[in-house]
Symmetry: C2
Subunit: 97 residues, 2 copies
C-alpha cells in the first residue's frame, strides 16, 4: 500500500508540512487531479491521511494532513527501503573486489 510510488510521494510531502494543499501536491507529483484524488482516497481509507475541504477566500481548497498512523507507515517504509539500498550497496562493494 505505502510502497506504491505515488502514495509514498504523497506521504513524504505531507510529512514535511503540518498540512499540504491539493494543488501543491498535484504539481509536485505531476499528477492529474483525478489520479491524485484516487490515491488520496486509498490513503484516507487506510487512515494514513486526513482530507479536509475548506476555503481560501472564495476558492475551495482541499488540505491533506498526515495522521499518526501515516507517519508510522512512512517510517516503516523508509526503514525497508534503507535495508534494500544497503543490500544493493553491499553487492556493489563485492563486485569491485
Amino acid at each position: 500500500m505505502v510502497h506504491q510510488r505515488v502514495r509514498l510521494g504523497i506521504l513524504t510531502i505531507a510529512h514535511e508540512a503540518r498540512r499540504v494543499e491539493f494543488g501543491y501536491l498535484r504539481g509536485q507529483l505531476e499528477l492529474t487531479a483525478g489520479n491524485l484524488s484516487q490515491h488520496l482516497t486509498v490513503l484516507e481509507t487506510a487512515g494514513l491521511v486526513e482530507v479536509e475541504k475548506g476555503y481560501a477566500g472564495r476558492r475551495g481548497r482541499t488540505w491533506i494532513t498526515l495522521t499518526a498512523a501515516g507517519n508510522t507507515a512512512l517510517a516503516e517504509e523508509i526503514g525497508r527501503l534503507k535495508q534494500l539500498i544497503a543490500r544493493v550497496d553491499a553487492a556493489e562493494t563485492g563486485e569491485s573486489g
Copy 2:
C-alpha cells in the same frame, strides 16, 4: 516500471549474483509462480533481465540474469530512493528543533 516493489526486489536479488534461479527468487520474495512469472515477463520485455530455461539433472530450471540496462535502471532507482529518504530524514530533523 522499476519502482514497482516486487520488480525492484527481483532486480536487487539478481544484482547480487551472476544469475538467480526462479525457485530461489520465488521463495525470497514470497510470491506465487504465476505472479513471479508475470513480473519477469514485464522486466524481460523491458530488457532489464534475461530469462533462460535449462536443466539441473533431469529437472527443468529457469535462470534469471540482470542485463546491463537492468543494472543501470536499478542504480537509478536506488538514487531516487536515496533522495526520497534524505527528504524524509531532513524533515525529521526539522521536527525535533
